[in-house]
């Protein structure tokens, strides 16, 4: 059975919501949204999801080929102001793709380099990251695992809180912060190393630990039970075809690499 790296990442990411119960899951970007949708159809059918506009859905919309929001499986209206009511209640888990992540699990989507008055590269701005990170679980999706993303020092602009003693607000402990998992094109990580150190949990087929460490700007812990990332099941791949009928997932990673690396090398 053939599957792509994007599909492997989506299926791996879909597992991070398994034990969440009835939380609002928000996947920002096509692959994270597909992962959340897949989870809602498989590992956690209690998930709440929105239509990325203003309604909570009982069944996720497809991520490609949708012609209209008419006729979708609405459950309740949920405009942006009401999203914050949910966010601040803590009943949410977001899967997002930051430009930078540091060893504390802090992340950046605001700007790169320069100064606050004149950044070298203006990105989006902090958006909802500060509020999300102090309120509910957050996980990261990284299509290109590199030292540019996993930076050596702190993020250029710290948009989300992580496990950093120097920045811990008064009255807070690490147990108030929930940076859950990181799914990259090489591996799956969590923050369950010593003192919440980022830790390799599973390696994608054909990927070695050394490659992961070489592409990360800081030291990683390694799980004693490190495994190979579970490869997609036939049922998961069928559901991906249903949730993404136009195969938009094939256009998200450069050259759409195969899920098992040897196969990719043999082809090229």
């Amino acid at each position: 059975m053939r599957f792509s790296l994007a599909e492997l990442m989506v299926c791996a990411a879909s597992h991070i919501f398994e034990d969440d119960g009835e939380v609002l899951v928000t996947g920002i970007g096509l692959l994270p949204r597909l992962a959340a949708s897949l989870a809602m159809r498989t590992s956690n059918t209690d998930i709440l999801m929105t239509d990325s506009q203003s309604y909570v859905l009982s069944q996720p919309n497809p991520v490609s080929g949708l012609k209209s929001h008419q006729g979708q499986a609405n459950e309740n209206w949920m405009g942006f102001a009401r999203i914050f009511d949910n966010v601040w209640s803590g009943r949410r888990h977001a899967l997002v793709g930051p430009s930078q992540i540091d060893r504390f699990g802090q992340s950046n989507i605001s700007a790169l380099g320069g100064t606050h008055q004149a950044p070298k590269v203006q990105l989006l701005g902090v958006r909802g990251f500060p509020g999300n990170s102090i309120s509910h679980a957050n996980s990261f999706f990284v299509p290109s695992h590199s030292r540019r993303v996993f930076v050596e020092g702190e993020c250029d602009v710290v948009c989300s809180v992580g496990y950093n003693n120097d920045r811990l607000p008064r009255g807070y402990s690490f147990s108030d912060i929930d940076v859950r998992a990181v799914v990259t094109n090489l591996c799956v990580l969590d923050f369950n190393g010593p003192n919440k150190q980022m830790r390799v949990v599973s390696l994608h087929p054909g990927v070695g630990l050394e490659e992961v460490q070489d592409n990360t700007g800081f030291d990683l812990a390694v799980s004693a039970e490190i495994t190979q990332t579970t490869i997609p099941s036939e049922q998961q791949l069928d559901l991906l075809n249903e949730l993404d009928p136009l195969d938009a997932r094939a256009r998200q990673l450069k050259n759409n690499p195969a899920g098992i690396r040897q196969a990719e090398e043999a082809e090229s």
């Binding site: 012609k67 203006q122 500060p130 990170s133 809180v161 992580g162 950093n164 607000p169 008064r170």
Partner: protein, 290 residues
């Protein structure tokens, strides 16, 4: 009371140095005709508060802005707004960069007459380092520290609604009214542009009156601007103009503000609309699907 005025009459209340709140979200339901009227005016040194899109980009590019209070400036499908990006990277503007929810709380505090609203948001992040006017406070009820999000009080707010009567009863028929109600309530003077004018009895329908998110005594001026949200969307009437946004991006990146203004702005909304293909073309833009 009849509050129907022209766009130029409406924005003439805006003076140099004022704080202007702008409703909508990114490329969605922005009061762009009012923004264009501001671009044609001599006003400058504005502080702009917005969930920003081309509104913030254009005002910055035109040199109208001293400071932007923002969480993002984005066109969604074009994640980085080109004109805002240029303004930021050249260091031309002052900013208060805060979380989307902090912006909501600031407007709510402004609307409620509170000096601030306590929140956890911002703790542990560079928001506190960069927005130096944000204070941390103690709670009388716990041992934690809290961010005191100050009230945001625009002198004038600009929003775009679907329909209104001349008294300023405004319907937003779009799927989301965003924080427009908070912008209107927080500011001393609200100008609402609408696609369609309706008689007052239009609102007798209970379903319609549920789509009115603030009372008419919060609306000071109504401007009839069919297509006035272009190039942003005014769902359910028309979607955003992807093709135009791409042109907009190229012009502002390569030629700067004057290239865009020469190509499109014109001396009135009708000349703008002719330059972008006419009102009918705007009104037939398909609704966005997410």
């Amino acid at each position: 009371m009849d509050k129907l005025v022209s766009a130029s009459e409406a924005v003439s209340v805006i003076e140099d140095g004022m704080t202007v709140g702008i409703g909508g979200w990114g490329p969605r339901r922005k009061p762009m005709a009012l923004v264009r009227e501001l671009l044609r005016s001599r006003v400058k040194d504005l502080t702009v508060i917005a969930y920003g899109g081309a509104d913030v980009g254009l005002l910055c590019a035109a040199g109208k802005v001293r400071k932007v209070i923002f969480a993002f400036v984005s066109l969604d499908f074009m994640p980085l707004e080109p004109a805002f990006r240029k303004a930021r990277e050249s260091g031309a503007i002052e900013v208060m960069e805060i979380d989307e929810g902090m912006l909501l709380l600031g407007l709510r505090a402004g609307a409620w007459g509170c000096p601030f609203i306590p929140t956890r948001i911002g703790l542990g992040t560079d928001v506190l380092k960069n927005a130096t006017d944000l204070a941390l406070i103690d709670s009388p009820y716990d041992e934690k520290e809290w961010v005191a999000m100050p009230a945001l009080k625009p002198d004038v707010s600009l929003v775009h609604a679907t329909r209104a009567d001349v008294r300023g009863v405004c319907e937003i028929a779009s799927p989301d009214h965003y924080m427009d109600d908070l912008f209107v309530r927080a500011s001393g003077h609200s100008i609402v542009s609408v696609d369609e004018m309706v008689p007052s009895d239009y609102f007798y329908d209970a379903e319609v009156s549920r789509r009115v998110f603030w009372e008419r005594n919060c609306t000071q001026a109504v401007v009839h601007e069919p297509g006035g949200a272009h190039p942003s969307s005014s769902d359910p009437l028309y979607g955003f103009d992807i093709k135009h946004f791409k042109q907009y991006g190229e012009l502002l990146s390569d030629g700067g503000y004057s290239a865009w203004a020469e190509a499109f702005l014109g001396d009135s909304e009708s000349s703008y609309q002719s330059a972008v293909g006419g009102l009918e073309a705007i009104q037939s833009l398909p609704l966005p699907v997410y």
